[in-house]
């Protein structure tokens, strides 16, 4: 039935991965601090920054490998797919986030210095997995279908990619604000480098930043540093603290977890504030977010459609406005809205960016809040 030895191995490897992600996150943030991004968007690292970055990549990859081992041994222990409850699903989400971050953000696009933020989101997923921990066990007949492989894995893949997309959208909004304020402060006419630049093809948005040069660590990047001064150092830690703490408290009612998660979010906020000058230009972040979300959207569409087909097989109706179905639908509508907004006058740029953030919140609500609070047919998937 449940192989206790393998289940224990899985738990151990999970903890190893968790630790590795935290270490990698810190290392990536160090790398960010040692990296300057020139006006053209090319990241330039010091030698120390490069070394730290290499360590971060190795640790994150090793963590992902251990995590994969954890999931494989779990699957072998229970003899089914390792994503049948919220602990397992959150764990898979974290792995997906790290893998997408490493493969797409770091390798494909070359934005390795953004990985700290991606890892932070993965760490949040891991922490939520621990809070939702469930003993490995068998599943109810409704879940014993090959559709659990198809529907759930598609939903998971899309969600992981959306998580990475959220990091890009949020950073875009921050960077864009800083760029605008700096331009306004310096009296320069700001033409809106961000306004749908990627879509309209005004700039070379696909340029792969390359060439890590040796630079003098003490030489300030003039102008860019001033971006930081346009943003409030108080709002940046406080707002994430309030948002995350409220969310964690309403979901789990655990004061310690609330405080911890809130503090991590506050740290992340202040790190973002500090990192603003070193982030790629807003137009590039906007393009990155679009490319990532446009990649996930068809997968999410497929997940919803496959879910409808499975619902027909298992429950005798393809769509019953069950809370989970409704949730996945509004998430889909909001992301569809984002894709449309990027090519709509008056919405391009910041409007679309905010829509992406709202859509991500909808995704989180669909996953956590609907599973934990609302009684529906997907309720067995809770905890």
């Amino acid at each position: 039935m449940v192989d206790a030895q393998l289940a224990a191995t899985s738990d151990t490897l999970f903890n190893v991965a968790f630790l590795a992600y935290i270490v990698a996150m810190v290392a990536y943030f160090f790398r960010l601090a040692f990296t300057k991004v020139s006006v053209a968007g090319v990241p330039v690292s010091t030698a120390a920054g490069q070394r730290v970055g290499l360590v971060a990549t190795i640790v994150a990859s090793a963590g992902a490998a251990a995590h994969l081992g954890s999931l494989v041994s779990l699957a072998m222990a229970v003899n089914r797919v390792p994503w049948a409850n919220m602990y397992e699903y959150s764990s898979c989400l974290a792995l997906g986030t790290v893998v997408v971050g490493l493969a797409v953000v770091q390798r494909r696009f070359g934005y390795g210095h953004l990985m700290g933020f991606v890892l932070a989101l993965a760490v949040f997923s891991m922490a939520s997995a621990l809070l939702l921990y469930a003993e490995p066990g068998p599943v109810v007949p409704a879940l014993t279908s090959y559709w659990i492989t198809i529907h759930t894995s598609a939903a998971m893949a899309a969600s992981s990619i959306f998580i990475v997309g959220f990091a890009a959208s949020a950073l875009y909004l921050v960077k864009d604000t800083a760029e605008r304020r700096l331009a306004a402060a310096s009296g320069a006419s700001f033409s809106g480098s961000t306004v749908g630049a990627a879509y309209a093809g005004g700039t070379d948005t696909d340029a792969r930043p390359e060439g890590h040069l040796e630079v003098d660590d003490d030489e300030p990047v003039v102008g860019a540093i001033a971006q930081r001064d346009t943003l409030s150092p108080i709002a940046f830690p406080v707002i994430p603290f309030i948002v995350v703490a409220t969310f964690v408290f309403t979901v789990w009612r655990a004061p310690l977890a609330t405080l911890l998660a809130g503090s991590v979010a506050a740290l992340l906020g202040i790190a973002t504030w500090y990192a603003v000058p070193y982030l790629p230009p807003a137009a590039k972040l906007d393009s990155l977010a679009y490319r990532i979300i446009a990649f996930a959207f068809p997968i999410w569409t497929f997940a919803v459609l496959a879910g409808a087909i499975w619902a027909q097989e298992a429950w005798g109706r393809y769509w019953g406005w069950d809370p989970k179905e409704t949730g996945s639908f509004f998430t889909w509508v909001l992301y569809a809205g984002y894709l449309h907004a990027r090519s709509t006058k008056g919405w391009r740029g910041r409007g679309a960016g905010w829509l992406a953030v709202v859509a991500f919140v909808a995704l989180m609500v669909t996953y956590y809040a609907v599973n934990l609070f609302v009684v529906g047919l997907h309720s067995y998937a809770g905890v």
Binding site: G137, D204, W315, G316, T326, G337, W347, A362
Partner: protein, 552 residues
């Protein structure tokens, strides 16, 4: 609208009254309609409508919906749970308990459809023209971002033939422009690709009409009914079998049922063993939840009394017979009981379908006899499938499995309202009276209420199994619509429009080819593709102008 009879008399001079102020002309209904149409066609309007749709669905996620969980809605209305009666009344006024059946939701959907149609009609027209129009010739090719000159000894027409082959291989649509038609005065090839971007997007949006049509057909011509049947019994596919649990489509006729009968030969449920959890629960004196492995109903289908098929219906494995689909949806215990009076005359014999109330506690009512209004008998039944005692000393069921079943029967008598039209599981507890001492029976046992001489037998404990029976037209359309949606979505996001020209200028006894290209999306990847195209062109026509490749 400028009729004089409605306008006020002219104001006295020196007092510029309201009639003298320049009022904007009031638009006629046609103008208003045109304007509304123009607004609806805007992409930003569509976005607002999408947002409204998202908000409506968010509301429907967090406010219980009557068609999904009517019991919770009833509790909210009564103020037992939820935000209170006043708020619930407000929700009701806005039909927030049934968002997806609300008139305003219908209106929103209709507006979205109109907006979609308004967007699509001009796009389809434009796309039709675009795909039928041959690629246009190019002038000033050397000013484009991607441009390359290739010098070859081939005559112009041969060089162009080579270039044409190259472009076709890369799936470009190629048009030959002979010298008089060409904007440069030279023979030219104009090529383009990537129309699937717009075409895919149109397909994606058209798929909504297919999905809607499929859903409407399913709702109008389909049927959904639910029926519970006890092991050994049968039901027929007629409207009467699904009384109270039938949702026929508007145009599903009452005699649209097939009339075959389904006999439940056997029902089994088995659970994953979990001795560890059971031991812990046993020590703590509480019930153990077990995860079911499978529910299986074995049924025999008969047409005109002749058995035609024996099949197993399981969760995730529905069966289909004669256009009706049968799904396994629920199950329960149905103890068979027999009630006889003191003289041995059988008053009642039936398998009573029990419903689970609380962990593994199954309850039900056997309406034994109604001799007259004041003289009636009913049995209130409680079944514990795996009877034992909890930590508090109260009886409980240790597990959901029927390992040690005990049936408790409480006798009610007097004016129970059995002659009235009341739901199967209810009777009048106010005016009825009950015997204090219940009978506790195990399967095969017979007990007697001593005072009255009434005997109750509990010969066996069969299951009942609940099926959904549905007729589902339009499913193929829904599947086709889903496939169309994905098939359109992928190219609409990942196909990119590119235009390329090859211009052949006669140059001595050879030709100078100008290769130029423009990308409408994803310019960087086009740079790489363009370079590779240029390399291929050079090597195929034998570039004589390019510097010789360096050999090691």
């Amino acid at each position: 609208m400028t009729d004089t009879t409605t306008s006020p008399p002219p104001a006295p001079a020196g007092d510029p009254g309201p009639s003298q102020r320049a009022l904007p002309p009031i638009p006629g209904p046609l103008d208003t309609a045109k304007r509304a149409w123009r607004i609806l066609r805007r992409m930003s309007t569509a976005l607002w409508l999408l947002l409204a749709l998202a908000i409506a669905t968010i509301i429907a996620t967090f406010i219980p919906q009557e068609p999904v969980i009517p019991s919770t809605v009833a509790e909210w209305r009564a103020g037992v749970t939820g935000p209170g009666e006043g708020v619930a009344a407000a929700f009701d006024a806005l039909s927030l308990f049934d968002v997806f059946g609300a008139p305003w939701f219908m209106g929103l959907t209709a507006l979205l459809l109109i907006s979609l149609t308004g967007c699509l009609v001009p796009r389809i027209r434009g796309f039709w023209r675009l795909t039928r129009r041959a690629p246009a010739g190019g002038r000033n090719l050397d000013r484009l971002q991607h441009t390359v000159e290739v010098r070859t000894d081939l005559p112009p027409d041969e060089a162009l033939a080579t270039a044409r082959r190259l472009l076709r291989r890369r799936r470009f649509r190629v048009r030959d422009l002979a010298r008089p038609d060409s904007p440069t005065g030279n023979a030219q090839l104009a090529a383009e690709k990537g129309h699937w971007r717009e075409g895919g997007s149109i397909l994606f949006h058209l798929s909504f009409y297919v999905l809607l049509l499929g859903a409407v057909i399913g709702h109008s011509f389909g049927f959904v009914g639910q029926v519970n049947v006890v092991e050994g019994a049968a039901f027929a596919d007629t409207r009467l079998s699904y009384l109270g649990a039938a949702q026929p489509g508007r145009w599903f006729p009452d005699d649209g049922h097939r009339g075959f009968t389904v006999a439940l030969d056997d029902f089994t449920v088995d659970y994953f063993p979990d001795p560890e959890a059971e031991a812990i629960a046993e020590a703590e004196g509480r019930p153990t939840g077990l995860t079911p492995r499978d529910f299986v109903s074995t049924v025999t289908i008969r047409e005109d009394g002749e058995p035609v098929a024996t099949e197993q219906i399981r969760v995730n494995h529905p069966i289909e017979h004669d256009g009706m689909k049968l799904y396994q949806i629920r199950f329960g215990f149905a103890p068979r009981i027999e009630v006889a009076n003191a003289s041995g005359a059988v008053l009642y014999t039936d398998a009573v379908q029990l419903i689970e109330e609380g962990p593994f506690v199954w309850t039900g009512v056997a309406k034994v006899a109604a001799f007259d209004v004041e003289n009636q008998i009913a049995l209130e039944l409680v079944l514990l499938p795996d009877a034992g005692f909890g930590a508090d000393g109260m009886p409980m069921s240790r597990t959901p499995e029927a390992r040690n079943p005990r049936l408790a029967a409480v006798l009610w008598y007097g004016e129970l309202g059995l002659d009235r039209n009341i739901p199967p599981r209810e009777f009048d507890r106010e005016s009825g009276r009950r015997l204090a001492q219940p009978l506790i029976l195990e399967p095969g046992e017979t007990g007697e209420f001593d005072d009255i001489g009434l005997t109750v037998s509990f010969p066996e404990l069969p299951f009942w199994s609940g099926f959904q029976v549905s007729h589902e037209p339009g499913r193929e359309l829904l599947l086709a619509g889903s496939a169309l949606m994905l098939a359109g979505l992928l190219p609409s996001l990942y196909a990119y429009r590119r235009r390329v020209w090859v211009d052949a200028r006669a140059d001595g006894d050879g030709t100078t080819l100008t290769l130029a290209g423009v990308a409408l999306q994803r310019k960087q990847t086009f740079g790489e593709a363009f370079d590779s195209l240029a390399d291929d062109l050079r090597s195929e026509v034998g570039d004589t102008a390019a510097p010789p490749r360096q050999e090691p």
